[in-house]
């Protein structure tokens, strides 16, 4: 057997083996969250490389080593789920670098990080002033997580005490001109509904590259022909506008009429409409 043929066979065998081992270990191995996974990831790769090109060696030796390393990682993962102390030992714990806005020099020294490296890590998170940070911790995998002081955090609707409606994730119902029935079902819509919506937009199904339904049941599409402008949904903002118009009309009627009973009726309903507008505004904007 020529050596190049041997390499081809070994490459495919190890490719398949590595693929299945990573499948067994799951996403956790790929993200290399813990120290153990980091080490086993590197080692498995090296063993595979060595075994593929080291033709003088037996292929099964390399395979055994890879399987052992994978199973050990799997075993460590399962044990780590069961026991907290084992988890701390295997996966390591984060080291607090900044607490209460103060840099803990002792911990920096313990992890052998200089202040330059700490500020470089902070800059990767778009933080340029150490004084802005309330709390920062070095994760076991060497990334830095930082919590800004409250006044430096981005403003959220909660800070403004705004009421925001709950918005469900949009469902992708059309992909490459094909209807995805499962997504359509979880959006609570039927094929008939989708066809009507497409007709409203004057589109055919095979023109649509991607179509999504949001939590208000509005369909947004991207079509293959980028020169055609597809109207964006305007139903809700228009509804808000006509509500406002009706409210203003009622106020005008109440001013114009001379009949006391109707004046009161118009006033009452104008107020009711104003309350309705206030209630609906979060749902009709955005």
């Amino acid at each position: 057997m020529p050596s190049w043929f041997d390499i081809i066979i070994r490459s495919f065998v190890f490719l398949a083996l590595l693929f299945f081992m990573t499948k067994i270990l799951g996403k956790k191995q790929i993200s290399e969250l813990s120290f153990f996974e980091y080490v086993s990831g590197i080692t498995i790769g090296s063993i595979a490389g060595e075994a593929i090109t080291g033709l003088e060696k037996n292929i099964f030796q390399g395979m055994t080593a890879i399987i052992i390393f994978s199973l050990a990682t799997l075993f460590a993962d399962i044990l780590a789920l069961k026991s907290k102390s084992f988890r701390d030992f295997i996966e390591g714990r984060g080291t607090v670098f900044i607490k209460d806005g103060k840099v803990l020099e002792e911990n920096l020294k313990k992890e052998k990080y200089s202040i330059d490296e700490l500020s470089a890590l902070l800059r990767q998170k778009d933080i340029y002033r150490v004084a802005d940070v309330e709390f920062a911790v070095l994760e076991p995998r060497g990334t830095l997580s930082a919590l800004l002081k409250k006044e430096n955090r981005p403003l959220t609707p909660k800070d403004l005490q705004m009421k925001v409606p709950i918005e469900k994730e949009p469902q992708t119902v059309i992909m490459d001109g094909n209807i995805l029935d499962e997504a359509l079902r979880s959006a609570g819509k039927s094929r008939g509904w989708l066809e009507t919506e497409l007709e409203k937009l004057q589109l055919t199904l095979d023109n649509v590259f991607i179509g999504q339904v949001d939590s208000y049941g509005e369909l947004t599409v991207d079509i293959y022909d980028d020169k055609i402008q597809v109207p964006s949904p305007t139903q809700r903002p228009l509804l808000l506008a006509s509500l406002k118009k009706a409210q203003a009309d009622l106020e005008i009627f109440s001013l114009e009429t001379e009949d006391e009973a109707s004046k009161a009726m118009y006033m009452k309903n104008a107020k009711l409409l104003q309350e309705t507008i206030d209630k609906l505004t979060p749902y009709l904007t955005s």
Binding site: I166, A187, Y216, R236, L239, L272
Partner: protein
Amino acid sequence: MTIAASVKQCLANMKGIEAQLSSLALNSNDKGAQEVFHTTMETIASVKKDLQTRVLELERLEPQYKG
């Protein structure tokens, strides 16, 4: 435009709003949104009823604007 005509127009507007709220209540996925659309639709329906009585009254008072 006479008062009767503009009240009628407003009534038509309310009918449209009610229908749109009803369709939004049916099409929304979120329970909370559905409820808000539904209750506001009922409010609009009551306003619409008041306007309808007023239109009838106006027609009775000023028969020339009937239609």
